[in-house]
């Protein structure tokens, strides 16, 4: 049982979570920086090719600041991140912050709408699978989610392209139109990518929603609700959804992380100019500053979302509210 919290207790909870978030961001930045910079492999050498003379390699190393100690470079990068400066591309010299803005909106909407879509799929499907778990249709939903989990998101994308772009010719197979220039076109180009993320993420989420509702269904207050005349489905939904949502919120953060991973691949399938495409180009050209800053942006978004979801417990769980709200007292 969670203790009942007063106003100061709740403030301490929020501040504590923010402190953990800051520590997590620092740890994540260290992981990213260490992986990219401490592994063997000389960026300057790679950029100039193996046949280049040592003097020009040394010159480039100096120009990129690679001759300075690792810790100093980490400190610089971190200070830059804190002030919104994501460094500069080693090739074009452009600020990564400026390069990131447009792809970020593409990936953001892809993941946001995909996660929303997965909830739209998973909540009714999971509730139904829990409600009808002893019947063939509940079993069918469960089996379908199992199959959905076995399909990579990019495969779903390919299947959707085959059906809607190749056979039916309703939607474009790939390409991207910005929302500003053509909202209808934006919708048409984003629809299939969003659906492929929704379906695959939704399949995994359906299993969580199902087991959450199955567990809630065995609790006493649902039995009481049933005994005073509530139908099984409406009792589960009306009196069980808050409890079930607590469990679902726990995995939603991981779903967002998986959503970004899925988006990187789905962007390749549909040739969307998002962060995934930007990252893959940067990997191909070994533009390490772009790779490390863009990965850090993605990881930071996931960590912030996880923190926000943790804090949303306070809103979802009345036991964490203050007495003065007049709702949480016992």
């Amino acid at each position: 049982m969670l203790p009942l919290l007063g106003e100061t207790g709740r403030l301490r909870l929020v501040l504590g979570r923010v402190a953990v978030l800051v520590a997590s961001l620092l740890a994540a930045s260290a992981i990213v920086f260490w992986l990219v910079n401490a592994l063997p492999g000389d960026v300057a050498q790679v950029m100039l090719g193996n046949s280049s003379d040592p003097a020009s390699v040394a010159e480039l190393r100096a120009r990129l600041g690679l001759d300075r100690p690792l810790l100093v470079r980490y400190g610089d990068w971190l200070a830059g991140l804190a002030t919104g400066d994501l460094g500069h591309s080693a090739f074009t010299g452009e600020a990564v912050g400026g390069l990131v803005a447009r792809p970020l909106t593409v990936t953001f909407w892809l993941v946001a709408l995909g996660t929303l879509g997965s909830l739209v799929v998973a909540v009714p499907a999971g509730l139904w699978a829990a409600h009808r778990r002893r019947h063939w249709d509940g079993f069918a939903v469960n089996a379908l989610s199992q199959v959905g989990m076995a399909v990579p998101a990019f495969l779903a994308g390919i299947a959707l392209v085959l059906l809607f772009a190749v056979n039916l010719r309703w939607l474009p197979a790939n390409g991207y139109v910005s929302f500003g220039s053509d909202p209808a076109g934006w919708f048409r180009t984003m629809l299939l990518p969003v659906v492929s993320i929704s379906v695959i993420q939704g399949a995994a989420l359906t299993r969580y929603v199902r087991s959450a509702f199955v567990e809630v269904g065995t609790s006493d207050h649902i039995r009481t609700a049933r005994s005073i005349g509530w139908g099984r489905l409406s009792a589960l939904w009306r009196h069980g959804r808050r409890e079930a949502s607590l469990q679902v919120v726990t995995v939603l953060g991981l779903q967002v992380a998986a959503g970004f991973a899925g988006a990187i691949v789905v962007e390749q399938v549909f040739v969307l100019p998002g962060l995934g495409s930007m990252l893959m180009n940067a990997v191909a050209s070994r533009d390490l500053m772009v790779v490390q800053s863009v990965v850090m942006v993605l990881v930071a978004i996931v960590l912030v979302v996880m923190a926000l979801l943790d804090l949303s417990y306070v809103a979802l769980d009345p036991r964490l509210r203050t007495r003065r709200d007049g709702r949480g007292g016992q």
């Binding site: 990579p152 990019f154 390919i158 953060g253 991973a261 790779v291 996931v302 996880m306």
Partner: protein, 270 residues
């Protein structure tokens, strides 16, 4: 119904393993052989599943693809287990501050999916089978830590552990004799489910070109190559897709089946 998951899961996993083993000793054609004259043939007596745009035999490539899938799965789950299980035991049995620290560290790792780790590694070292399996292995560590920790906490709250501690038995012995044997079924189930996730991740990485490099046949790469021929030869995408789905479904169902078989307490309340 419970038996069904175990039976279907075992069958699909066995099919994948047998294909991989068979391809070690025999394939109808050289899986990396190129023969432009016989490119894009329909399935026939000679080429059971047809040929791709380079004239390679699809069936040979398909069964050889099981090798990389299984190697990456085994090694990455191995990495995750070797690092994740001790961490989990440590945080389940250790002092409170250590327990919290491990949870926070695994939470940070959760923010690094395999694809992101592979991108970081590939940017420096280039894409390879090793890049892929290290990325997938590290990304799988937090799941093992979390499951082990939960299991260890549960075991530690039981009376026979209290008795052992009162009797002055050291924590290492308790971990070895009581905690690990008790949570072994749980970990076996997790290994199977994580194997399924690893197969999915490997497919994604080789599709992106971050994992195993051509010409070594992988299912993800076969899908990537089939992508440009989706309009004219959709069958080329079908086979690797089916192989990925079968392997993942197999390991997932095997995990579900094992859960019911090994530990009746984990069974869903009915």
């Amino acid at each position: 119904m419970r038996r069904a998951s175990l039976v279907i899961g075992t069958t699909l996993v066995a099919l994948t393993v047998l294909s991989g083993l068979l391809s070690l000793v025999w394939t109808p054609f050289d899986p990396v052989g190129v023969d432009p004259r016989s490119a894009l043939q329909a399935p026939s007596g000679a080429h059971w599943l047809g040929t791709d745009q380079l004239g390679s035999d699809v069936f040979s490539r398909l069964i050889s693809g099981a090798q990389i899938c299984l190697v990456v799965g085994l090694v990455s789950v191995g990495i995750a287990a070797v690092v994740g299980i001790p961490l989990g035991v440590l945080s389940g049995m250790g002092p409170d501050w250590l327990s919290r620290l491990v949870v926070r560290v695994t939470d940070v790792l959760y923010a690094f999916p395999a694809v992101l780790l592979a991108i970081l590694l590939a940017a420096v070292l280039g894409g390879s089978t090793v890049t892929g399996l290290v990325a997938i292995g590290v990304a799988t560590i937090p799941v093992f830590t979390r499951v082990t920790r939960a299991g260890a906490l549960q075991v530690m709250s039981q009376d026979h552990i209290t008795a052992a501690r009162v009797a002055g038995i050291g924590w290492f012995t308790i971990a070895r004799r009581h905690v690990l044997p008790n949570i072994a079924p749980l970990l076996g189930v997790q290994a199977s489910v994580s194997f399924a996730m690893a197969v999915l991740a490997e497919a994604a990485l080789s599709y992106l070109g971050l994992g195993t490099q051509p010409p070594t046949p992988t299912w993800g790469r076969m899908l990537y190559d089939a992508r440009v021929l989706l309009f004219s030869h959709p069958g080329l995408a079908l086979w690797p897709a089916a192989a990925i789905a079968a392997a993942v479904l197999g390991f997932n169902l095997l995990g579900d089946g094992l859960r019911d078989l090994l530990d009746p307490r984990l069974r869903e309340v009915r």
